[in-house]
């Protein structure tokens, strides 16, 4: 029997993998992938908790919203990465330090 805890464990693993990717990858695209992983982990949690709301399906509705929002965010983020690449000729976040000022 698959319980809520299984979902949460899978979600936590996904989140951890995404977090690792965000913090450690040397490529902005893969950082973006990590972000997607973390969003998906949270969506999985929404869906998993959604079974406690059988009247309105709030969890599933929010999950759909989140997927749409994630898609929009990926589009914006890719556009930013493209521009960054044009500007810096690299997508390695280690090399882009203009935020320090």
């Amino acid at each position: 029997m698959i319980t809520l805890a299984h979902f949460l464990v899978v979600g936590a693993c996904l989140f951890a993998a995404g977090l690792y990717a965000v913090l450690a990858r040397r490529n902005a695209i893969l950082v973006l992938v990590g972000i997607e992983l973390m969003i998906n982990a949270s969506i999985l949690n929404l869906v998993a908790f959604g079974r406690y709301d059988k009247t309105f399906y709030g969890g599933q509705a929010f999950a759909l919203f989140a997927i749409v929002l994630a898609a929009a965010a990926v589009a914006v983020a890719l556009a930013i990465i493209l521009n960054v690449y044009k500007h810096y000729k690299t997508v390695n976040p280690e090399d882009i330090r203009n935020l320090k000022d």
């Binding site: 977090l19 965000v22 913090l23 450690a24 950082v31 976040p93 280690e94 882009i96 330090r97 203009n98 935020l99 320090k100 000022d101």
Partner: protein, 668 residues
């Protein structure tokens, strides 16, 4: 009084001219080498003095006074008082000074400091002339000090010589002792009578004779004045400076230390004569005789030609003191006058001899003292004029008939006998003592003459050089001949053997005379003449024919040569204690006074360094700590602002994690 105006102006001119010459020479500095200014001043001064003398002598007394300054209700004056005594001294100083000035042209020729010489000489003449005509004791004291100061400058004229510096210090300090005496005397007079005017105090209606002053104070004042005169006139035991003063140029010795400055003491005593009571006069007489005897004794064995003459001067000053002490100040002044001429001449002759010996030394490259009579001999043929004039002066010194010295010395001795006849037993010996001294005088002066002008020089080298010695040049010869003429009797009287007709004595005659002893006027001259001839014979026998019979190492001989060991005694008694005291005071000054100041300063310094430490460590430290802290914190924090996105994210995650964990554990 209009009739007095001219003499008054002449007196002023006589005094002021040398002062003007002094100021001018001092202003000209090195350019005043020729001495024309000084000589012109003294010549004009002599003319003025001669005119004053002709107007004043045995006529009216010249007086003028101007108010000088006022202290409270007491006015002090400057003024002129010219009576017979003053007029005589005024003329005498000038008449001696002029030949000496002229002589100096030749004597000081080529000296690098000659401009100073003329300046000092003019200053001295001004001071001395001022002293003679000053009408009050204050002015007189000022001139008295100036005389001492000018003498100090002239004794130390060759100040590169250590001995000259020692000598002028000695003269200055010894004179200072006398000056204190004079100052005390003046103070006593002023506090008792409220005036310093000489005419009021000591004139015909002498205030001091009025009995206002009690006996003790009168004696004290008299002794104080006498102390002043003792130092200035080199009386025993304050005579030590005069022989040492021979370090000055010989012309200076002749002017200052024979004829004028040393006479100032005698002149002072003659001026204030009414002040002295019997006690003071007796002290003077005794001091004078002791001086005369001691100095003559010291003169017997000296080898330095100038020192012999210096002791001779002291001895003759002793005679003058006896003259004052016996109440016969006119005789003292007469002896002063004759002595001034012949002693000045003696010094000038000695100057010529020294001058030539100096040349001889340079020419022959000898290592001799040009003043030592042992190196001289046989100079008579080479310098006949010097020999002749010196012989005249020496005969005048011994009191040989036909000279001025005969008249004055005879008068002095006769008066001393007359005075002694009235005295109690103990001091009756004094005139005999003086007669003996005059015999000693003959001996030492003939010894000098014999050694210098007769016989043969001590060494072969010297006798070879004698031929090159020549007589005094014209500029020296004329003053010497002039003074030689003045040393003879015609200047003073037409009667060569009797002092009763001397105009000078008649002009200065005091009111009361001692009862005369008739036979003395025959006995004394015969006695002194006999003594003189005997001594001349003795000197001839001993020194010219070189049959000296005595061992030159006797006790008396050494005592005489060392001047009674007085200098050694002074050194022990006065100089050493003063030096020890000075060292002790220096120690006090260095340790206590300076130590106190230093320790106070030390406390202040350590306070300051403590304050500095506080300021530096505490206040500055705090400020610096704050700065360092802020900058350190910044250093730490800026590591977090490296611009790395992932690092920021990691940090954010970490903080969220911490907050989460906190919440979890806080709830648990």
């Amino acid at each position: 009084m209009p009739t007095q105006t001219c003499p008054l102006l002449a007196t002023l001119a006589a005094v002021i001219l040398p002062l003007a010459a002094f100021v001018l020479s001092a202003a000209l500095g090195r350019k005043a080498k020729s001495g024309v200014v000084s000589i012109a001043a003294i010549a004009l001064s002599l003319l003025a003095a001669g005119y004053v003398f002709s107007q004043v002598w045995n006529q009216s007394v010249l007086r003028a006074q101007w108010e000088w300054f006022t202290v409270g209700a007491h006015a002090f004056h400057v003024g002129i008082l010219v009576d017979n005594t003053s007029a005589l001294m005024l003329l005498l100083v000038n008449i001696i000074a002029l030949p000496v000035h002229i002589y100096s042209i030749a004597y000081m020729k080529g000296d690098p400091g000659i401009h100073r010489y003329w300046t000092y000489l003019s200053l001295f003449c001004f001071a001395m002339l001022g002293l003679t005509v000053a009408d009050n004791l204050l002015l007189m004291y000022i001139c008295w000090e100036l005389v001492g100061f000018a003498s100090y400058l002239l004794i130390g004229f060759w100040f590169t010589r250590e001995s000259a510096v020692q000598a002028n210090k000695k003269a200055f300090i010894m004179n200072r002792i006398g000056d204190i005496g004079l100052l005390i005397g003046i103070a006593i007079i002023y506090s008792s009578f409220g005036t310093l005017d000489i005419h009021t105090l000591f004139g015909p209606q002498a205030l001091v004779a009025g009995g206002y002053l009690s006996g003790g104070w009168l004696t004290t004042a008299g002794l104080a004045f006498f102390l002043g005169a003792m130092a200035k006139s080199a009386q025993f035991p304050l005579h030590g400076w005069l022989p040492d003063a021979m370090e000055g140029p010989t012309a200076v010795s002749s002017l200052i230390h024979a004829a004028t400055m040393v006479a100032a003491g005698v002149f002072l005593l003659a001026r204030v004569f009414p002040l002295f009571n019997q006690t003071t006069l007796l002290v003077m007489t005794v001091t004078g005789s002791v001086t005369a005897l001691a100095a003559a004794f010291f003169a017997l064995t000296q080898y330095d030609i100038k020192r012999i003459l210096a002791f001779s001067t002291i001895s003759q000053l002793g005679f003058m003191m006896v003259g004052i002490g016996t109440g016969m100040h006119h005789v003292a002044l007469f002896h002063l006058t004759t002595h001034a001429f012949f002693k000045c001449l003696l010094f000038l002759c000695a100057g010529v001899v020294i001058h030539e010996m100096q040349h001889l030394r340079e020419k022959q490259a000898l290592d001799i003292d040009p003043q030592d009579i042992r190196n001289m001999g046989g100079l008579r043929a080479a310098m006949p004029v010097t020999f002749g004039t010196m012989l005249i002066a020496s005969l005048a010194l011994t009191g040989f008939p036909l000279t001025g010295g005969y008249l004055s010395k005879d008068a002095l001795l006769v008066h001393a006998f007359e005075w002694a006849a009235l005295q109690p037993t103990a001091v009756k010996i004094i005139p005999y003592l003086l007669t003996a001294v005059s015999v000693l005088t003959s001996f030492y002066i003939f010894r000098l003459l014999a050694k210098v002008f007769f016989g043969t020089p001590a060494t072969q080298k010297l006798s070879g050089g004698i031929a090159t010695v020549h007589d005094a040049p014209m500029l020296m010869r004329v003053p010497m001949l002039f003074l030689a003429a003045c040393s003879l009797f015609p200047l003073f009287t037409f009667h060569p053997l009797n002092d009763g007709h001397v105009w000078l004595l008649q002009g200065l005659m005091p009111d009361t005379m001692l009862p005369p002893l008739g036979a003395l006027h025959l006995a004394i001259p015969l006695l002194t003449l006999g003594g003189t001839l005997a001594m001349a014979f003795l000197a001839w026998k001993w020194y010219v024919q070189a049959r000296y019979p005595l061992a030159p190492r006797g006790v008396l001989y050494r005592l005489s040569l060392r001047q009674g060991y007085l200098d050694a005694v002074y050194d022990r008694v006065a100089v050493r204690p003063v030096l020890i005291l000075a060292q002790f005071l220096r120690w006090i000054d260095g340790r206590l006074v300076d130590g106190l100041v230093n320790s106070v300063a030390g406390v202040g310094r350590s306070l300051a360094s403590a304050a500095l430490w506080t300021d530096f460590r505490m206040i500055d430290g705090l400020v610096r700590f704050i700065g360092k802290f802020a900058s350190g914190l910044g250093n730490v924090l800026r590591r977090t602002q490296a611009g790395r996105v992932q690092q920021y994210l990691a940090l954010a995650f970490f903080i969220v994690l911490v907050v989460l964990l906190y919440h979890i554990f806080a709830q648990a």
